[in-house]
Symmetry: C2
Subunit: 509 residues, 2 copies
Amino acid sequence: MLAEKRRSALDAIFFPKAIAFVGASNNMNKWGFLILHNLIMGGYEGPVYPVNPKEKNILGLPAYPSVAAIPHPVDQAIFTIPAEQIPPAIAEAGRKGVRAGIVISAGMGELGEPGKALEAEMVEQARRYGMVLVGPNGQGYACPQSKLYPWMPAFLPPHGPIALISQSGNIQTWILQYLERVGFGVSKTVSMGNAADLQAGDYLRYLKDDPETRVIVLYLEGLNQGREFFSAAQEVSPRKPVVLVKAGRTEAGARAARSHTGVLAGADRVFAAACGQAGIVRADTLEQAAIYAAAFAGIPLPAGKRVGIVTGGGGLGVIAADACVAEGLTVAELGPRTCARLQKLLPPWWVPGNPVDMVAGLGYAGPREVIPVLFEEGEVDGVIMIGLGWAHGMVETYLKHSPLRKLTDLTPFIADRLKRDREYNNRLADLIEKYGKPLYMVGPAVAHAIERGWEGMSDILRRGYMIFPTIESAVQAFAAMAEYRRLRELHQAPEVRPAAPAPVRALER
Amino acid sequence: MLAEKRRSALDAIFFPKAIAFVGASNNMNKWGFLILHNLIMGGYEGPVYPVNPKEKNILGLPAYPSVAAIPHPVDQAIFTIPAEQIPPAIAEAGRKGVRAGIVISAGMGELGEPGKALEAEMVEQARRYGMVLVGPNGQGYACPQSKLYPWMPAFLPPHGPIALISQSGNIQTWILQYLERVGFGVSKTVSMGNAADLQAGDYLRYLKDDPETRVIVLYLEGLNQGREFFSAAQEVSPRKPVVLVKAGRTEAGARAARSHTGVLAGADRVFAAACGQAGIVRADTLEQAAIYAAAFAGIPLPAGKRVGIVTGGGGLGVIAADACVAEGLTVAELGPRTCARLQKLLPPWWVPGNPVDMVAGLGYAGPREVIPVLFEEGEVDGVIMIGLGWAHGMVETYLKHSPLRKLTDLTPFIADRLKRDREYNNRLADLIEKYGKPLYMVGPAVAHAIERGWEGMSDILRRGYMIFPTIESAVQAFAAMAEYRRLRELHQAPEVRPAAPAPVRALER
């Protein structure tokens, strides 16, 4: 269990009252400039004190020669100074009452000895003063709730229900970009760097009780403290899904990992078994980790592996059926009663069965009528619905540039399409909430819709639901969620689900 | 071989001199409105004659009561009238000298008898007059070179080097959207519909000699004329890669396909063998088909399966190594001479080997110095390079909104970043062209870069090269291209490669 003192110090990472920036710079090519710029641009509302003995003013803020010289209380310090200066600077910050340090600086443990000695000295200083440390050799962290982005990447992900902890800054950025593409932001995200002090298990335990976090994503290459990590995961996973992507699954990958971090990747089968026992969901790729997280954030868990497929295009249904088999799911058989009910809703030439091919186009009647039948008859554990109302939302952007605006008033047409789009999308979200069963909606244009801020698409994302960019990603998420549910039942963990998904603000930038 | 007369009629599809639109409408909810709107909005420069006996004027154009009543020559006709009116309308168009008909109307062969009889009658009328027909029951086609978009989707893909022929309109739209996400447009794209007249093989043979087309993508559910199709593919594939995605690979999928089209999907292994013999590259998913096509369009073929991995992040290299093994590729072993040459370029703590982890960040030196060593030493058949200059291009958009613009002049900083970005990207393209070896560049932000029109990213896309959105997609494309090369050598087909990739206009909308 995370000692109360350390938990409170962790609070100083995500909710600092005042920040000292040690190594702040006016040189636009230095991290001391770029990270401070992000910190200011993100909109953090507390005081920020740049520390640099050579400057009077940095990015419009008065600078101080040292942390000790700051005439106000400070509870967080960010360090971008050279590695050899870090241990005394940590001690100085500790004496000042700083409880959390973010060490961006590289040149420590990752270089072997004597970097490791320097790193150990840094941790010793921090512990002496009860400080916790992020890093070193990370790219920083972000907490959108606090408008806090003291990090390297040149973008500010929005607030969302997903926490992301990564052993690699590069990969943190990649996963965040995959999340953005499906409309999701983060509650908290940390680049662990060398994890000299705070470990994956510490972050996990902290996030367990974080009300902003519904799903935790981890990227790991190796583990310093494997037993402690799995014990933390086992504690957290019944409450919140923990999605892990780990490099080094194959022999070639493990060899590469060894030369990268010096950590022995070990037999993947052993690692996989430990994950299963700890209730961890593994993702195979970075993109998949993002998609799983977004799916877990809003969609109810399927009770089993029986899939209903509702499709606006026959070929899309065939592709989905193929994908279900590949992922170990079952394309559910529909009984005669279900088919009879569906036949009343569909054209006379409809061929009864699953996939439910809407034949004459999905139209707007589809979800209102067909999906409830599948949910009510109980032969499926969830529905994959292919083809969405996005095509109509698209019309808006498209017709903006129409030369026909001169000839015809397109306003009522566009307004009508958007209204139907919005009703359609809200109806889909309503169905999930009414039946408490999972609906996996697939449409290839979701990334575009998010980029362009299409109104017709926004509602469903604002309600916290996911639209999958490919059929395969939806099918894989279904399988991962069914497996998570199975693992949780295996461990007889109580079901804990918040009443409503956390809001997604990706669309409100 | 495609009879010369039919080829010339096919020209009337993609390069019509004048178009009659039979079933044009002022009702904004009808395809007769929406498709005509697309046709006008696309910018087609020839005359368009709406045909509708009840209207005087449609979308600003004078309407005619019949095709016969049009007092000008017409070589293409588009039909959105009810199915039962189609055969006499085709005959009328034939008498008028129309050489190509696009039949959008549904309600024919796909409904079984008597729809099939109607369809046969339509084809009989067309053949009597030497007309070729697209459809029926398709969503139309597009030829950006002619600014021609007589189709349903509410978007106009740009001109590009890829031809897409699809048995499903829905899936055509999906593949086009996946192509757009990676920055690629099309030379020609046709929704075959029921393929009552023109078959997949006809389109293949036509595209073989189309100078605008470098790669052909096909989506098929079943084949009316299997032998003829494979014979066409075998003729085309040595000259241009043919990428095929086919639904119904598994038993569940095949069952779904049967109920969708009535076509027996047959054993996939038999189909796969036929594809191999015909030199066809199969894609597993719609997104993969788009990514393969974009890759084939610009990247030289790898001579074998030995991969060099150059990465800005160690973890990313580990993930790439894992993915290579999963796809049957070899993570190449680098000899002592190569490692010695690389060691001179990299920091002292670099761990020699493949993946080549740049350790201290990829920087701008990476491609200029490291990739040539790999290409020159000949131990790799191609390089996957992970992490691109896109982060710098991103800075532009990002800093537009910076509150620091008031305090600091960011213009030189931004200009410098963009300049370096552009140089970096052009250097990468130069390397491909200088060595004639494949370089697979991976960056997760490519979709965003395209959406936002980031200048730093544009150059490389304008030169026709692909940036892969995920590591796995690059690795899979490498494997597919190596396999295509192998098949071509197996069949002793001569290597035919255009000198430079066709321009991509996705960024110039």
